[in-house]
Amino acid sequence: MPSADAAAPALTAEDELPRGGRRFLRELLRSPKGLTGFVLVLAVLLIALFAPLIATNDPAEQVITHRFLPPVWAEGGKWSHPLGGDNLGRDIFSRMVHGTRISVVVALIVISVIVVFGTAVGLASGYFGRLVDSILMRIVDFQLSFPFILLALLLLAILGKSFWTLVLALSVAFWVNIARLVRGETMRIRSLEFVQAARGIGVPEWRIIAGHILPNTLPALVVLATLDVAVIVLAEAAMSFLGLGIQPPTPSWGTMISDGRNYLYEAPWMTLAPGLGIMLTAIGINLLGDFLRDTYDPRMARR
């Protein structure tokens, strides 16, 4: 893997943490892949943030005359409804824009929960080792050996369908990767000289963990968390597609596709628009994540 700091020896990887935005910008402008990803992700975030300003039509309003209204580039399309209308005469553009907001909100909540929880478990497991590690890692193994959908179904069976069940199911399904990564990084960093030195001069353990180990796990953690966001967006869409995630009338990309597939012949844009939304979001996050990995992940630099 060609990496910008190929010339630098392995040790400096720890020193070259992302300080300020200058290095980030310099590297970003050099990488077409990273730049594409960054622009896509930024666009998604901005659309989510300013949804009501971008799409002024009510996403839930049903206008009989707009049923199966074609998109603007097809015959009979209108500029006021650029992506046309769906089977109930709702504005697809507006539903897309508000759906972006739902995807972003779910992804941000879930990723925050699993980063906090996964990091805590990973740090404890990696730093203290022995019994704590054995117990925590058995739980992780057990969970890894279980398909995500079964966990989700169990939670749905207990709690019923709702927004928070969805968030909980996704969090429970994906915290494990984060915990494993942080555990591995913690074990690696704990044995490095500067940590040994800090121990030697009597720095308390909580300060070693919070001040020395945690900051050094961040580069790898940020990369994995970024890539995980794409997985979460896709999983949310899948759950909503099955009718087990975001419930109508809230617009979400997954439910839009599920509505649209019954009208594939008459109105393919009902399916294609949200499909494209999901793909562009996931591609953007993946490209950005790959860029971050190539640039910052110390485990890449060592190769």
């Binding site: 893997m1 057990f142 890894l144 050996s145 279980f146 398909p147 995500f148 959908i149 079964l150 179904l153 169990l154 749905l156 069976a157 207990i158 709690l159 019923g160 369908k161 794409a230 896709l234 869409a237 899948a238 597609f241 099955l242 009718g243 087990l244 596709i257 597939r261 594939l264 012949y265 393919p268 399916t271 499909g275 999901i278 793909m279 996931a282 591609i283 993946n286 490209l287």
Partner: protein, 331 residues
């Protein structure tokens, strides 16, 4: 090696017991009265059904007593009655299991058939058009949800071209393969494969994308090793080096994650089945959740867990046979 297999078996057993325990007490965890919920979702139920359900699901017992009761019933082959279908759960499950199993296994085979040549060519011609195409395939494959691929395939091959059926399973693929061989008649096999092609492809694509990338980087890693240089200087043919030495070593990391990917494929199958009206466990499970059909939820989850645990066990045992270098004591 026997120790490793034994440990693996014990582990599989522990996982399954944990699943059974969890399923046995599942209904107790539902906030509110679970039987009331079931009755409101399934209007056909009577007061007698409600009383029967309270006993069957153990709402009047302790968790441990319910676990023993549930395990005993399972041992008798009694999975309870589906509320919605009015049939024994086991009848429904045994009808649906082969469909999901065939779909999952076919998708895994398809994923490898796509990923191995693609990853290999990309690594051997690093920086070429093939390599570039493989990268684009990986990026797109990982970012496109399977259910969307499925719908797009239906749009193209069923709606536009009218070549393939948009839903249903037709004849079991395994049975028709057997018949095709017996009668020496490929038409039987093709007739069945027409139904499997699109669901299996939409399920396989993500895994193929991940594996192609993995195989590419593993090949590049192996190509740098000294033994490859040695093989070259010994004058072995390129073909022999690439297949016997490089590919064989590069496949090891892929085999390792196939076990984990099976879980991913089962999750995917549950979703894809709902796109193609596939009569498998996934559709049964999703419908069961919508109707709050608890006996059926218990049954589908339990059977999927058994399916998953036995498939991963099989992969682990295969792995043992394939790669003699593994230190079993450490696993």
């Amino acid at each position: 090696m026997t120790g490793f297999i034994l440990r693996r078996l014990v582990y599989a057993g522990v996982v399954l017991v944990a699943v059974v325990f969890f399923l046995a007490v599942l209904v107790k965890l539902v906030p509110g009265d679970a039987v009331d919920l079931m009755i409101s979702s399934n209007p056909g139920l009577t007061a007698a059904d409600a009383a029967r359900l309270r006993t069957e699901l153990g709402l009047d017992r302790s968790a441990v007593a319910q676990f023993i009761h549930y395990a005993e019933r399972l041992a008798d082959g009694d999975f309870g009655q589906s509320l919605r279908h009015g049939k024994p759960v086991w009848d429904l499950l045994s009808e649906r299991l082969p469909a999901t199993l065939e779909l999952t296994v076919l998708a895994m085979i398809l994923a490898l058939v796509i990923a191995i040549p693609l990853g290999m060519m990309a690594a051997l011609r690093q920086g070429s058009a093939v390599d570039y195409a493989a990268t684009v395939f990986s990026v797109l494959g990982v970012a496109t949800p399977g259910f969307l691929v499925g719908i797009l395939l239906i749009l193209l091959f069923s709606v536009d071209l009218g070549w393939l059926p948009p839903s249903g399973r037709g004849q079991s693929l395994t049975i028709s393969l057997w018949r095709a061989i017996r009668d020496w008649d490929a038409a039987v096999f093709w007739a069945s494969l027409r139904y499997y092609a699109m669901p299996a492809l939409s399920l396989a694509l993500v895994v193929a994308a991940i594996n192609a990338r993995l195989i590419r980087s593993a090949m590049l890693e192996v190509l740098r090793q000294d033994f490859v240089l040695f093989a070259k200087s010994k004058g072995l043919t390129r073909r022999r080096i690439n297949f016997r030495h490089v590919l064989r070593n590069a496949l090891i990391p892929t085999v390792t994650i196939i076990g984990l990917q099976l879980g991913f494929l089962i999750s995917g199958a549950f979703i894809i089945e709902n796109v193609f009206g596939w009569p498998g466990l996934g559709r049964l499970a999703v419908d069961a959740i919508h109707w709050r059909d608890y006996p059926l939820i218990q049954g589908t989850v339990l059977l999927s867990a058994v399916l998953f645990v036995s498939l991963t066990l099989l992969v682990d045992l295969l792995y043992c046979v394939l790669d003699p270098r593994i230190d079993y004591a450490k696993r």
